[in-house]
C-alpha cells in the first residue's frame, strides 16, 4: 500500500506552461464561413492568465473548428458594440458573412458583464445575443460559451468549445493522465505514475473518469472523480482488467477481463458490484463500446480468426459481425448520432482511422498515417480525436468526418496518446 502511494502521485495544481498541449491546424473545411469578430469594447480590462482577450479566444476557437475564417479587423473608432446600429454595407465590403459585436463592463460588485450580438451580414439581420456575468477566473469559459453560441447559430450543430478532453502524456518513464479544455488550456493532472495508464473513459455526466492503470504491475480498472483526488478500484480480478466503457445512463460499465481464461466482456457497476459476464467466445473479446441508445455493445473479437468488430444486443442474442473488409479492424466507437462507426483498420500494413456508415455500409479511410490508435468522437460527432505517431513522436490528431479538417495536438518533450473527448456541458 505504501509502495502504491509512493508510486502514484496526485497533482491538482495546474501544470507548468511547457506541459500544455499545443494545437496546430493542418487542414480546414472546403468552405469556411468568413466571420468578423470585432474587438469587444472594453475587453482589454478583462484578460485571461495568458493575456488573451475574450474576442481572441472566440476567434481562435472558431478558426480551430476548420469551419470558419476569422477576418482581420482594423481598430474601429468609435468602437462598435452590441448596442450600435450595424452598418451592414461596411461589413459586407470587408467580405464578412457573419459579424459579432459586443462589450465588456465592470460591475460594482467586482464582477464583469459581457454582452454580445451575432449578425447575419448577408441577410442583414441580428441572429441573437447573450449577456454573461463572470469573474476574472471565468474569462476562457465565457469565451468558449460565446464561441459555442456562434457555432450553433451558424452551423446548426452544437459547439464543443466548452468541453474537456482527457489524454495520457508519457515523459520518459513517467505517465500522466491529464484533463484539459478542448483547446488544450487548463491542463490538470488526474494521476501521475511510473507505470502505464491507458483507456480513459468519461462518465456521461463528465464528472468521473474510468481508466486502466498498471501501478500494481498489471492492468486494473479504476474510477476517479474529476474533482476528488481519490482512486476507486472497479475491477481487480486475476489476469487483466481493462477497456472500460460507460453505459449512456452512467449506471454500468462494460469492460474486458481475463479472469475466466480468454479476454471476455463483462458488465459491472461503477462501484465494482454486480459483475455479469456478457460474451462467451473461444477467442479474444475486448474494447466494448455502447451504442448511444444503450441497446447494443460493439466490441472487438478474433472469434472468426482475425480481429474484427462485432455487436451484440444488451438484452441478449447472437453476436453480429460488423466489419468484413481487411484482416484487422479494432477499437469501435459509435458516433453520438448513432449513424456511423469509427475504428482502426489495417490498410496495406498501415493502421488508419476508418469510418463506416452503418446504414449504407460504406467505409472510408480518413487518415494517411501509419500507426493510428484510440479514436474518440467529439460529442457533436463532427470531429474524431485519435492518437498517432508523427516523426517518431506520439501526437493527437482531430479529423472531421469528411477527412478535411485536421488539427494536431502535441506536447514538447513527450508523447501524447489515449485521447478521450468528454461530453457536452449540461
Amino acid at each position: 500500500m505504501r509502495n502504491l502511494l509512493a508510486a502514484v502521485l496526485f497533482a491538482f495544481a495546474a501544470c507548468s506552461a511547457h506541459a500544455q498541449l499545443s494545437i496546430e491546424i493542418t487542414g480546414a473545411g472546403a468552405q469556411r464561413i468568413p466571420i468578423a469578430i470585432a474587438p469587444l469594447a472594453g475587453e482589454g480590462a478583462l484578460l485571461d492568465p495568458s493575456g488573451a482577450t475574450i474576442g481572441a479566444i472566440v476567434r481562435a476557437d472558431l478558426e480551430r473548428s476548420g469551419l470558419f475564417r476569422s477576418l482581420e479587423i482594423p481598430r474601429l473608432v468609435p468602437q462598435p458594440t452590441e448596442a450600435s446600429v450595424v452598418n451592414y454595407a461596411e461589413w459586407r465590403a470587408r467580405l464578412a458573412d457573419a459579424l459579432v459585436l459586443g462589450s465588456v463592463a465592470a460591475r460594482p460588485d467586482g464582477r464583469f458583464e459581457v454582452r454580445f450580438r451575432l449578425y447575419d451580414v448577408v441577410k442583414q439581420t441580428a441572429l441573437g445575443g447573450v449577456a454573461y456575468t463572470l469573474t476574472r477566473e471565468q474569462v476562457r469559459a465565457t469565451a468558449h460559451r460565446i464561441a459555442d453560441y456562434v457555432y450553433e447559430k451558424l452551423t446548426g450543430e452544437k459547439g464543443v468549445f466548452s468541453t474537456r478532453i482527457a489524454y495520457v502524456v508519457k515523459r520518459g518513464e513517467r505517465y500522466e493522465l491529464q484533463v484539459a479544455d478542448a483547446d488544450g488550456a487548463n491542463e490538470q493532472a488526474m494521476l501521475v505514475s511510473n507505470e502505464p495508464i491507458i483507456s480513459p473513459a468519461w462518465s456521461p455526466d463528465g464528472k468521473r473518469l474510468a481508466y486502466v492503470s498498471f501501478q500494481n504491475k498489471k492492468p486494473i480498472v479504476y474510477v476517479q472523480d474529476i474533482e476528488v483526488p481519490k482512486q476507486r478500484i472497479v475491477a481487480n480480478f486475476k489476469g487483466s482488467n481493462s477497456a472500460p466503457a460507460w453505459s449512456p445512463d452512467g449506471k454500468r460499465l462494460a469492460l474486458a477481463l481475463t479472469r475466466d481464461g480468454n479476454s471476455q466482456i463483462y458488465l459491472i457497476d461503477p462501484d465494482g458490484s454486480n459483475l455479469q459476464r456478457f460474451t462467451r467466445s473461444a477467442g479474444i473479446d475486448t474494447e466494448p463500446f455502447f451504442s448511444p441508445d444503450g441497446d447494443w455493445l460493439y466490441f472487438t473479437s478474433d472469434r472468426g480468426g482475425s480481429p474484427q468488430i462485432y455487436r451484440m444486443a444488451l438484452r441478449g442474442g447472437d453476436a453480429q459481425r460488423v466489419t468484413f473488409e481487411g484482416g484487422y479492424n479494432v477499437s469501435p466507437r459509435v458516433n453520438p448520432d448513432g449513424a456511423s462507426l469509427a475504428y482502426i483498420a489495417r490498410n496495406g500494413g498501415r493502421f488508419q482511422l476508418a469510418l463506416l456508415e452503418l446504414a449504407t455500409r460504406q467505409t472510408q479511410i480518413l487518415t494517411d498515417s501509419d500507426l493510428d490508435e484510440s479514436p474518440s468522437f467529439a460529442p457533436n460527432g463532427r470531429l474524431i480525436l485519435l492518437a498517432t505517431i508523427v516523426a517518431g513522436r506520439g501526437v493527437l490528431t482531430a479529423v472531421s468526418a469528411d477527412g478535411r479538417v485536421k488539427q494536431r495536438l502535441s506536447v514538447t518533450a513527450g508523447d501524447v496518446r489515449e485521447p478521450a473527448w468528454g461530453p457536452l456541458n449540461p
Binding site: I198, F214, A243, N262, P307, G349
Partner: protein, 191 residues
Amino acid sequence: MRILLSILIAATLAACATTETPGTQPPAGVEDRKPGTVQPAPGPGTQGVPSKPVTGVDLTGGKPAPTPGVPPHRDPASVLAARSVYYDFDRYDIKDEFKPLIEAHAAYLRGQPELKMLIQGNTDERGSREYNIALGQRRSEGVKRMLLLLGAREEQVEAVSLGEEKPKELGHTEEAWTRNRRSDMLYTGEY
C-alpha cells in the same frame, strides 16, 4: 510410472501443439520473420551439486562467470538463461523453435516446487492497446498452459499481460516490433 508420465506429457503436448496452431489464419505477410534472437548454447556441467547455500541476490545485472552454487536459472551459461518466446504479428501460437526452452523451464520448475514464475506477455505497438492487452494475455497463458502440461504446478505460474505498454525495444521499425512480440519468463525475485 515415470515412463507413463512422460508418455502422457508427450501426448498432451502434441495435442496442445495441434490445438494451438489456428489453421484458419493465413500467415501474416511481412511480419512473418523469424525473430533475430540467439539461443545461448548449453554451458558445461554447471548444474552440479551446490557446494554452499546461496544467500545473496545478484543485482549487478552483469555477466559473471558460471559459478558453482549459482542456481541454474541465475546462471548465464545455463539453457535456463533464455527466457523469451517470440511470436509473429497478431499470433499467439508457440513456434516449434521455442518448445525446447519451455520444456527446460518446465522441468526446472518441476524440480523446484518452491520456485515461482511470472510470465509477461508483450506485443508490438501496432493496432489497439486494448486488443494488445488481450493478445499479450493470450501469449502468456499459452506459455503457462504448456508449462502446466509439462508438470509445473498451477500455484507456481502466473500469466499477465503488459500489452504494448512495456516495449523492450523503442522505435517504430520492423526490428523493434519483432523483439517486442514476446513472452518473458521471470522467476521469484526477478519481478
